[in-house]
């Protein structure tokens, strides 16, 4: 049973808590004033578009009418998406694209980082060369790869035919089964440098003494990597994988420029499909609903990312 005394005590407590919070804010008013412009800008350029996208996802936006003539339909856009066979096809493509691109980019980056961690002649030059894919414009790279893969006159096809490995150029990006793997290769080529840089930084934190001690104890290279090096890379690995996954989930440029989501929609991933729905077909409501779903996934990945960063920060502080 709640007594008047209890309620008064709670009121006083919460009141004093509020006073304390306001007091602390007041004490740090200059700090808040410094970050206020950034917060305002973020509210305008991030919070409002997010709100508007969520709002739009509940409206029907007929392509023949202006957006202002939209009509409220509740969750119908979401139902349409989830009942559409295209949604599941595009989702599968997105999962394959994201998982495969992230995994192989990380793996290749790790191999390169480990190789470059040792001292050898020309290490700096090789490191610079391996960074090229990451610094090259994704748009330019996509056009170049389109010509490398070209089904009739591509460099790759010509090379394979010249080497006697194929009788005719392989059909990679004009084939529904091979187009996605072909695009993943391009994406991995472009992203592995990022993973390499991150992991090279991480490798600097592995204590040399531990590796030497393990070596003295008779650990072979694989054991030293698995039991000493890799555990120290756990934090940077999590961050790298999460950043790659987020980038790949939103990886628009390569599939759009190289194939436009084709042939027959076989290289459409969520982001290209959303773009086509919105700007090509003007289904703003459906596209907004897709975007909200994508946003939720991104937020989940974001939470993991922040947690990973915090863990990594705490471990550094502990060290």
């Amino acid at each position: 049973m709640t007594t008047l005394t209890d309620a008064s005590a709670r009121y006083r407590k919460s009141g004093s808590a509020r006073t304390g919070l306001l007091h602390r804010v007041w004490q740090h008013r200059t700090d808040y004033a410094y970050v206020l412009p950034a917060i305002v800008v973020m509210l305008i350029v991030i919070a409002y578009p997010v709100y508007y996208t969520i709002e739009l996802s509940f409206f029907k936006t007929p392509p023949g009418l202006q957006l202002r003539e939209k009509s409220f339909i509740g969750l119908e856009n979401y139902a349409t998406i989830l009942n559409s066979s295209v949604f599941w096809e595009v989702t599968w493509n997105t999962v394959v694209w994201t998982v495969a691109s992230t995994f192989f980019a990380f793996l290749l980056g790790l191999v390169c980082a480990l190789s470059l961690h040792r001292e050898f002649i020309g290490r700096g030059i090789l490191r610079a060369i391996l960074l090229i894919p990451w610094v090259v414009s994704a748009v330019a790279a996509s056009y170049v790869w389109r010509w490398i893969y070209h089904s009739d006159f591509g460099v790759l096809g010509a090379l394979l035919v010249a080497l006697g490995l194929a009788t005719e150029p392989p059909n990679l990006i004009d084939n529904v089964d091979r187009v996605l793997p072909a695009l993943i290769v391009v994406n991995v080529w472009r992203e592995f440098s990022f993973a390499m840089i991150m992991l090279m930084a991480g490798l600097q934190t592995v204590p040399e003494q531990l590796l030497r001690a393990a070596q003295v104890d008779g650990a072979n290279p694989w054991q030293r990597f698995w039991h000493v090096t890799f555990p120290h890379l756990k934090g940077v690995t999590t961050v790298t994988v999460l950043l790659l996954a987020v980038a790949n989930f939103n990886g628009f440029i390569i599939p759009w420029i190289m194939t436009g989501g084709g042939p027959a929609g076989s290289s459409h991933i969520w982001i290209t499909h959303i773009y086509e729905l919105a700007f090509g077909r003007q289904r703003w409501g459906v596209a907004a609903a897709y975007s909200v779903l994508l946003f939720i996934i991104m937020m989940v990945l974001g939470v993991f990312y922040v947690r990973a960063l915090n863990r990594s920060g705490r471990s550094r502080e502990g060290a």
Binding site: Q66, T80, G260, G265, S266, G280
Partner: protein, 533 residues
């Protein structure tokens, strides 16, 4: 617009050369006196005729009313390569003087303007004329602050739609013919007709005007209109055992020729294009669809109502089957057709690795440029290809029906509420519209890839120059009267840029059978027209 039998033609027009002044001008029912130079405005018709008669030149023309009318106006019923040649260079126009009557040349204002820029596939001369136009506009209207932005064909619609959503559109825009109705139907555009810039509506192709007219109101003025032609390499034809001097007569012949070229020479026969979200695809597939008797709706009929969906008709399926036969059965077209645009076909064509394509008259100029840039053995091959380029009419269907897309662009003016700042400088917008749609600039701006939207452009000296300089131009211009505009519906861009290419890709990749792909596309069009999500 046709000449009247006997007596004076009702659309009285007199062509005269004023005394000692080498100015050619016209007077007629559609020509208002205020558009004439001031010294001529002072003349009434009687006095004017006296002056003209004094020159001794007009009298001769008045003696023969038939010849007089033929020389003075354009008769679309007589359209042929010979007719186009006969009218070229018969009239002169002073663009600045004309536009001064619409918007004074000293007008002070500001204009934001977007347009579909020339593409990489266009020859250099097209780019030069675009630069020259804006340079001339700035010189003609020095007090109009012009902010122009050239956008790629495949990007323009997307960007414009996005800008409209944010009320950040330009004051005026030159849109592709496919896009005008969409924006007019949504209420973004101001009504705009040729008369608003001093030209008569009957000076523009009826099909072009139809493509900018929504519910009886015109919302733009055509800048240029074109039809494409069938281009082939005579040397490849000869080596493949085909008649090098004749284009395939029907689309079935195209399938057969393509196979023969591929089987005998090991190269691609026909340059099929089936990329999604690219304007090139419908421009090449729709003539095929129409020739077989199919269509998206009844757009190929004389009086289309767009009430019946025909994508799943047996005729449409037969057209799709022809593409399937070339791509899947015979493998006689580029494998990259699903990702290719027409510009991707240029390299194999100049390299002698592709036998036939559908394209603009500018293709010839482009090939000359590519040949000039080639070196060594490549140059020899390229020059041989240029020498063997032939232009012909687009093939017909099984019943002899020949069709081609009536393409082009239009200028429209936006309503202020959709424009950045909420203000449209209408006079500045009319000034650029007047200049671009003038007989002079509608020729120059369409120099390589199209034709003047203003029919008077065909009568200018610049058009005569084009005929002299651009090989095969007469072939493409002669097809203009048989051009079919895309359906004048707001849904057309989605149908042509997405649904039709999707249908082709679904069939050509084997994801669906030809029947299934056509049925699926018809259902998509039905859903779209029904307003589904």
């Amino acid at each position: 617009m046709s000449a009247q039998a006997g007596g004076l033609p009702t659309n009285l027009r007199v062509v005269a050369i004023a005394e000692n002044k080498n100015i050619k001008f016209t007077l007629g029912r559609n020509t208002e006196m205020r558009k004439l130079p001031s010294f001529l405005r002072r003349l009434d018709r009687r006095r004017f005729l006296r002056v003209a008669a004094g020159s001794g030149l007009v009298v001769a023309q008045l003696m023969s009313s038939a010849a007089w009318a033929a020389d003075a106006d354009i008769d679309l019923s007589k359209w042929s390569p010979e007719y186009v040649k006969s009218i070229a260079g018969t009239a002169e126009f002073d663009t600045a003087a004309h536009c001064n009557e619409i918007v004074p040349l000293d007008y002070k204002g500001r204009l934001t303007f977007w347009y579909q820029r020339v593409s990489e596939a266009d020859p250099e001369i097209a780019k030069e004329y675009y630069d020259k136009f804006f340079e001339t506009f700035r010189a003609t209207y020095p007090n109009i602050e012009l902010e122009e932005q050239g956008l790629d064909y495949n990007v323009l619609l997307d960007k414009f739609r996005t800008a409209l959503l944010g009320n950040a559109a330009p004051m005026a825009i030159r849109l592709l013919i496919l896009g005008g109705i969409e924006f007019a139907a949504k209420g973004y555009l101001e009504p705009l007709k040729p008369e608003d810039v001093g030209y008569s509506t009957d000076k523009f192709w009826p099909g072009a005007m139809k493509a900018v007219t929504w519910k009886g109101v015109p919302y733009g003025i055509p800048t240029n209109n074109e039809t494409m032609a069938f281009i082939w390499n005579a040397d490849i034809f000869e080596r493949a055992g085909l008649d090098p001097n004749h284009a395939p007569e029907t689309w079935d012949d195209v399938v057969a020729y393509s196979k023969q070229i591929h089987d005998k020479l090991g190269i691609a026969g026909y340059g099929l294009v089936a990329r999604q979200n690219a304007g090139n695809t419908p421009y090449r597939f729709m003539p095929q669809l129409w020739a077989y008797g199919g269509g998206v709706f009844d757009e190929a009929d004389p009086n289309p109502t767009y009430g019946e969906i025909r994508l799943d008709s047996p005729e449409s399926k037969r057209a799709l089957q022809a593409s399937y036969d070339m791509y899947v059965r015979d493998r006689s077209v580029p494998t990259a057709a699903l990702t290719n645009t027409q510009s991707d076909n240029q390299a194999p064509f100049i390299a002698g690795q592709l036998g036939m394509v559908i394209s603009h008259p500018s293709e010839y100029s482009k090939m000359i440029e590519l040949a000039e840039k080639a070196t060594g053995a490549d140059k020899e091959v390229a020059e041989k290809v240029v020498a063997n380029m032939r232009y012909g009419l687009i093939p017909a269907g099984p019943t002899g029906k020949r069709a081609v897309v009536f393409g082009g662009s239009n200028i429209s003016i936006l309503k202020p509420e959709y424009v950045e700042g909420g203000v449209v400088d209408t006079k500045a917008a009319l000034a650029i519209t007047c200049m671009w749609t003038s007989p002079e600039w509608s020729v120059k701006m369409a120099w390589a890839a199209s034709n003047p939207g203003n029919l008077d452009g065909f009568r200018t000296k610049w058009f005569k120059q084009r005929l002299d300089e651009i090989k095969f131009l007469d072939v493409t211009t002669s097809m203009l009267p048989s051009g079919i505009p895309f359906p004048a519906l707001p849904e057309s861009p989605e149908i042509m840029n997405i649904i039709v290419p999707d249908m082709m890709q679904a069939a050509l990749t084997g994801k669906m059978s030809v029947d299934e792909a056509a049925d699926d596309a018809a259902k998509k069009v039905k859903d779209l027209m029904g307003g589904s999500l």
